[in-house]
């Protein structure tokens, strides 16, 4: 069931493109869509080092970090991301990753599993539509949102 706009406003999301990656367009479309859907979105933009995602999440008490990577280096850039979050006291933060995460033809199931093993709650393949992300966010934050509303 979708969250109400009041419930979504209580969910703070940090978005950005990780590493030396300048591909901002997809991330911007996603950020604008999430904002339009009522989420509280903190946009870091392109060329964002992993530690800056975490600093922004601490200061804004973010509920989730949505990492984009389009240039094939995602696996390298995202290595240790969950560990850094735990180190910074963000044990429970929800982590999504999406884009062209790896180079070459690899089976998506394997890629997804690799990122899940790295501590990401969800990984998204190329061509994911924004409404699908919204649906999953609603689902993942249903408990938190209803708890906060009560």
């Amino acid at each position: 069931m979708p969250l109400t706009s009041d419930q979504r406003a209580k969910v703070t999301l940090v978005t950005g493109v990780i590493g030396a990656d300048t591909h901002i367009v997809g991330n911007r479309i996603l950020s604008m869509a999430l904002e339009k859907e009522g989420f509280n979105v903190i946009t870091l933009g392109a060329l964002t080092p992993s530690e800056d995602f975490i600093k922004a999440a601490i200061e804004t008490a973010a509920d989730a970090i949505l990492v984009s990577s389009l240039y094939g280096q995602g696996e390298l850039d995202c290595r240790g991301f969950r560990d850094m979050c735990v180190e910074a006291g963000l044990e429970d933060i929800v982590l999504y990753v999406g884009g062209n995460l790896v180079v070459g033809k690899q089976s998506w199931d394997e890629v997804e599993q690799r990122f899940v093993d790295m501590g990401f709650n969800r990984a998204f393949p190329p061509g994911t539509r924004t409404p699908d992300v919204v649906t999953l966010l609603d689902q993942d934050f249903a408990t938190k949102a209803s708890g906060a509303a009560a």
Partner: protein, 478 residues
Amino acid sequence: MTSLTALLIDFGSTYTKLRAIDLIGGQIIAAGQGPSTVTTDINIGMDAALADLEKRMGGLPDFDHRLASSSAAGGLAMITVGLVKELTAEAARQAALGAGAKLIGAHAYKLTVKDAEAITARQPDILLLAGGTDGGNEETILWNAQKLAEAQLACPVIVAGNRVVADDTADILSNAGIDVRISDNVMPEFNVLNVEPARAAIRNVFIERIVHAKGIDKAAKRFDAVLMPTPAAVMDGAKLLAEGSDTTPGLGNLIIVDVGGATTDVHSIGEGNPTSEGVVHYGLPEPYAKRTVEGDLGMRHNARAIVEAVGIDAFSAEVDLTPDAVEELLQKIEGDVERIPDNQEETTFDTALASNAVARAMARHAGRIEIKQSVTGPVAVQYGKDLTATNTVIGTGGVLVHGSMPETILSAALYDSSASESLRPKNPDLMIDSGYALYAVGLLAAVDKDAALRLAQNSLTTLPAMTKETTHDRPPAA
């Protein structure tokens, strides 16, 4: 014809300095000076300074305004506390520096019991407590307030963090008997800087509380108001000069470099947005009115630190002396921090000290470009303020105002093509605050902007144009 006059007082840590200003002509009529007697009775120094001024003027007029600033008793000592070092902790630091404070501590993340006890022991005049964007992190600022309350902090606290918990934070502190004020968040949204309300709150506490704590109010009958700490007056002077008044246009973006005995201060007025095409700005935006204080770059108390930063051999070569002779001069300076050069050798030495202090202070203040390699090619990323298009650089401080080589020293602040990543001013007009009047301009700005601008016009001297390139091959002793 009736004249309009103002008396400007600076309660410094060494002197009580007076300036009598003709508001219509924008001229300093006379200056008087007495010792600083803040530690005993401030009136003694004030009497001596007034007697000196009276002697020089042949009688004292009935002043229309009597305004005071103060850098006495160590200035306005502040400690800042924020959450993430590069975010709210940095915003808090910027707010305090811009309010003219002397920063004696800056903390980030959760304070430990020991941290809080150390803060209390350092006896700041004001503590600025930030943390969390509005609606963001609540836990840390509440935690830090609790720790400060338990450590029985004695000074007033300004709360400028996450507004959602501002009242709760203030309650924790006021229940412990601490004087607390709530201001707007220094970072209401991620990477949005909002330092002016906190600066105003700092200034109010300064006027209400600190002036009394420092014993300055004992001389209260002698002036209308103590408006601000002296560095804040310089900042206000800088802003007025940049922006002008309703009737007089300003100079536009400008920088003030103040080379002092213990520190080198840099003030810049301007947005500092990228000036080159294709440059991406990254990180926390910096304040429109930004002040930095370099505690390791001073002409007297930190002369040795400057020489060591340059390297003793390189510095010796620069002043054309042996390292032993440099060491001898350093010891002379350290033994007599009021020392004024009295021969060519010492003048050359001071010029080199000041040039190096200015170059380093400016490089730290200015933003920089870094080239990052991406898959699509190199990208230029800007951190901090781009000051290359600054219109005017003004120098102040003894070695610039009274020294013989102001253009050599001030040129050290300029853009250097061999360090093109440092976004320092490229082609500004260079000026010297010959009348030593910038703080006076800032004080007067509060009551009469046009008179303050006239005063500035009469006390600033333009130096002959000089670019970094032309100074390069110049022997330092020329």
